[in-house]
């Protein structure tokens, strides 16, 4: 009997009996089930990804030639402004929230999020804000970049700019509501026997993400509201014509937007930490190091914002301070990457699509990280700031990191969400096209930037034409790469082979109930018969003792809290007598088991 079977057996009592039977109309209601909301988030944000992708393709089409001949320069600026805004605020950030919504209650054995209605509200703000943003194309979309630096944002496309501000304020509010919900849910609703250090790492990642969201987002709101005053009421917080200081806006903006890149990537650090051990059949390497490095990154992420302003209004000595703090982030990030590699090393890798995207994540994110350290170095950043080197760097982090992470998560949890398997062949085709298209699009941009091409330009020096044409071809490949994915998802959702409860033989609790899970996730309270990543650790006897203890704890807790169907002692003893054969003769019994250690530390 493997660890996974053992965990499943231990949770037979808790497993739901009937998979939830949903009608498509449920997804168009103010439903408060976290699983419905999670899927609403994911489908909606994927839709925005496609829109953002169309905008990116238009941007790249314009850049296939050095002249501004495909769209007007004004429209070009709107295209990349809306592209970036959509990708960041309507795709990456809310997609992370979508997975968190679906997964967190299941992973910690809860029946729903702490505030289900708030949750639904947070979701419904997103389509509203998205439609609002896109409607700006009717009146002249914003043209000042997603950073919206004044004074430019005060003098171009003012109506579109105001719409942009409103839309981003909505999205910020939504992500604050989401963050409160995740934090409270994780801290208060875990099954009684799950200590913080036994949570799946995705939950750790969401704690770190929520903390950042809660600290940083209000500052963005402040900046945008003041910008709005300048725009509408003629105040001069940031407008130099009235003695305002545009650099103050940049500080406020980046105080949010730097942490925002961690808000965008951290959930997928969590995703990768889930996926790699399962498909390598090995425990995660350095659980605590990975968990705590997320917190370290959160903290450090808050004190590095001015590295986006090295060539702006930042005096020399201050540049040095921000250079050091920025570089230090490489240490916890490095810990994660090396721990992931050690997790894979020596395993029995199941190279399914989720795993391929997981390894692709490491590959691409690594390069984003290396160029990240380079641009942290002030003298080098002075040269490449605001050039295509930065465009390359940011896409390596956000596309190579977050988007690869999203795809990995899609392939991995799709069976749980829908009860069906995705087609592996088309998954691999999708991965291959994405990885190659991505590299062809973004790798050459590093050279473009160093050679002298600034970012955000519709017209450029003809000597850069060749490289730009290559990038544009890559972008078309990327556009095509989404087709196998979309077809696969739609087809498999209806006709794919049935997945069963636990197709990947995982140990975390979301796999211990039906696929898709029933309305309240579990019938009883699930138990932790093993740790979340105890692959290959066959210490069934010890764990069995532990199990008995936990069942008792749960029974006590649940009778007090009315959080679920109380588990009678009798049931627990049936379980043990009924499965006395659990200890198979050939299974090794490891004396110094981590289960023991865990008990000691509790």
């Amino acid at each position: 009997m493997t660890q996974a079977q053992f965990q499943e057996t231990a949770n037979i009592e808790a497993r739901g009996t009937e998979p939830a039977d949903r009608h498509w109309r449920d997804y168009f209601t103010f439903n408060t089930d976290h699983k419905v909301i999670g899927i609403q988030y994911l489908v909606t944000t994927f839709g925005f990804y496609l829109i953002g992708g169309v905008l990116a393709t238009l941007v790249r089409t314009e850049l296939a030639t050095p002249d501004s001949d495909f769209v007007t320069p004004e429209l070009y600026n709107s295209l990349f402004t809306v592209h970036a805004t959509v990708m960041i605020f309507l795709w990456i950030v809310p997609a992370g929230a979508g997975f968190a919504n679906f997964l967190i209650p299941l992973m910690i054995g809860a029946k729903d999020m702490a505030f289900p209605r708030l949750n639904a509200l947070a979701f419904w703000m997103i389509p509203v804000a998205g439609v609002l943003l896109l409607s700006s194309f009717l009146v002249g979309a914003p043209q000042a970049g997603w950073t919206s630096y004044p004074p430019l944002s005060l003098v171009t496309a003012q109506m579109g700019e105001e719409i942009w501000i409103l839309s981003v304020l909505f999205l910020g509010t939504s992500s604050i509501l989401g963050a409160v919900n995740f934090a409270v849910t994780i801290f208060t609703m875990r099954v009684p026997s799950m200590s913080l250090n036994e949570m799946p790492l995705f939950c750790w990642a969401m704690i770190a993400t929520s903390a950042l969201t809660l600290v940083a987002t209000p500052v963005l709101a402040a900046a945008l509201i003041l910008l709005s005053f300048d725009l509408l009421a003629g105040t001069a917080f940031f407008n130099p014509t009235g003695n305002g200081d545009p650099v103050v806006y940049q500080h406020l903006f980046w105080f949010y937007s730097h942490p925002a890149v961690y808000i965008m990537i951290m959930p997928f650090f969590g995703v990768i930490s889930e996926i790699l051990p399962i498909h390598s059949r090995k425990p995660i390497f350095g659980y605590l190091a990975i968990a705590y490095s997320s917190l370290a990154i959160s903290f450090l992420g808050l004190i590095v914002w001015a590295h986006h302003m090295f060539t702006s209004g930042t005096p020399g000595w201050l540049r040095m301070f921000f250079m050091i703090t920025t570089m230090i982030i490489a240490v916890p990030t490095g810990i994660k990457i090396f721990s992931w590699l050690a997790t894979i090393w020596g395993g029995k890798l199941r190279l399914v699509s989720a795993m391929l995207f997981g390894m692709g994540f490491i590959s691409t994110f690594l390069l984003g990280g290396i160029t990240g350290i380079m641009v942290a170095s002030v003298p080098f950043d002075i040269h490449v700031h605001d050039t295509y080197f930065i465009v390359a760097h940011l896409h390596y982090v956000l596309f190579g990191g977050s988007v690869f992470g999203i795809y990995a998560a899609f392939y991995h949890w799709f069976p749980k969400m829908t009860g069906r398997m995705l087609n592996e062949f088309w998954g691999r085709v999708h991965f291959g096209l994405t990885y190659i298209g991505f590299t062809v699009t973004f790798l050459p941009m590093h050279a473009l930037g160093m050679q002298g091409m600034p970012r955000r330009v519709a017209m450029y020096d003809p000597k850069f034409t060749t490289i730009n044409v290559i990038c544009t071809i890559g972008a078309y490949m990327l556009a095509v790469s989404t087709i196998p994915f979309i077809v696969n998802v739609i087809w498999s959702w209806r006709y794919g082979p049935k997945a069963g409860d636990n197709p990947w033989e995982a140990l975390t609790l979301e796999w211990m109930t039906t696929s898709p899970p029933p309305i309240e996730n579990f019938e009883g309270i699930p138990v932790l018969a093993t740790g979340p990543y105890d692959y290959g650790m066959e210490k069934i006897q010890n764990t069995g003792e532990r199990l008995k203890l936990m069942l008792r704890e749960n029974a006590i807790a649940s009778s007090g809290q009315k959080r679920g169907i109380p588990i009678a002692e009798a049931q627990a003893s049936t379980f043990f007598s009924g499965t006395a054969t659990l200890v198979e003769p050939e299974s090794e019994i490891n004396v110094d088991s981590p289960a023991d250690e865990r008990q000691d530390s509790n």
Partner: protein, 333 residues
């Protein structure tokens, strides 16, 4: 976890090191270096590139080996070995990056200091300067009709704001040549306070200590010459500074790197690095020409004109490069 320690590992290690060292020096990614500062920055970049390539090969090597060697065999449903920590290894991969980072940090600091980034006077920010805080249209006419008086002025006590100041060996000394630069949608105007010349091109003598004082008329722009590896935002209401030593005669592009509006990509100028003699004779020519130009540059009402029309009369005067102007005409409105 046993770290494989064989001769093979050592050979691989040596191979990776050699490749990184070679590629770090021969990547060919940077344009030519035409200032004293540029070659220092290139040295720093090459070092980071060497380390980066090494790390890149290492990580991708691990991924590839894992895919080939550790792929699950058909029918094997058992779990892998239960390694889950190795304290010495974790210490190693925390400490090693920390040390490398520290090294890069110190090296960057050194380079930045020797470039003049820490010039205490140069970087003393005295906040908002109000005299140039006017919006686009009126400003350009103003600038042309009464340059150089309205161009950014250096205050006598050298209260310069942001950017790169004097290299330590030049600290406290005035620069050999000062040029005041005004950025506006979508052009750069260069004025030479000592000689009263104003132009749409930057001309500087080779191997001299040049100081650029940068100001903006309307929105943010950024002054960048890739071959000098120098860039600085120009901010309306503030002055910033770039001080450097060009060391190769030639013609270079001045690029605007900060989004400044629809024609941001067309905001270009040319920088000429001359021998001292050529520079002196250029100044002479300009002094004669500029007296005539001033009379012609009467203020039209710019608000009613499109950018293309609005800039057209100044082509000759401020020498915006003709291609960029050409781009303005057909596409606008």
């Amino acid at each position: 976890m046993n770290i494989p320690s064989s001769i093979l590992t050592m050979l691989v290690g040596i191979g990776v090191t050699l490749i990184s060292l070679w590629y770090g020096q021969n990547h060919g990614l940077m344009p030519i270096a035409a200032s004293a500062q540029a070659s220092q920055i290139d040295g720093l970049f090459n070092t980071m590139m060497t380390l980066g390539v090494g790390l890149f090969i290492l990580v991708h090597g691990v991924l590839l080996v894992a895919v080939i060697k550790y792929r699950r065999r058909e029918g094997d449903n058992t779990d892998g070995p239960a390694w889950h920590d190795n304290f010495p290894l974790e210490i190693l991969w925390t400490a090693l990056p920390a040390v490398i980072i520290l090294g890069i940090g110190v090296y960057s600091f050194e380079i930045y200091n020797s470039m003049g980034g820490l010039d205490p006077m140069g970087n003393h920010d005295h906040g908002t300067m109000q005299s140039h805080a006017k919006m686009r249209g009126s400003a350009i006419a103003g600038t042309l009709s009464d340059t150089p008086q309205n161009a950014p002025q250096i205050q006598p006590e050298k209260q310069i704001a942001l950017g790169v100041g004097a290299a330590p060996e030049n600290e406290g000394k005035p620069a050999d040549l000062v040029v005041n630069i005004m950025g506006l949608q979508y052009a750069w105007i260069f004025t030479y306070p000592e000689s009263g010349v104003s132009s749409g091109e930057l001309h500087i003598p080779v191997n001299s200590d040049v100081q650029l004082n940068l100001g903006a008329q309307d929105v943010l722009h950024a002054f960048w010459i890739p071959e000098f590896r120098l860039k600085q935002d120009v901010i309306p209401g503030r002055t910033s500074e770039l001080r450097f030593t060009p060391n190769k005669v030639g013609e270079y592009r001045v690029v605007c790197a900060e989004l400044c509006g629809a024609y941001h990509g067309a905001m270009k100028a040319v920088a000429f690095v001359h021998t001292q003699e050529d520079f002196d004779s250029w100044i002479k020519e300009q002094q004669i020409a500029s007296t005539q130009n001033l009379e012609e540059a009467v203020a039209v009402n710019p608000d009613k004109l499109s950018d293309g029309e609005f800039l057209a009369p100044y082509v000759r005067d401020i020498k915006i490069n003709p291609e960029s102007l050409e781009q303005l005409h057909p596409t606008h409105h």
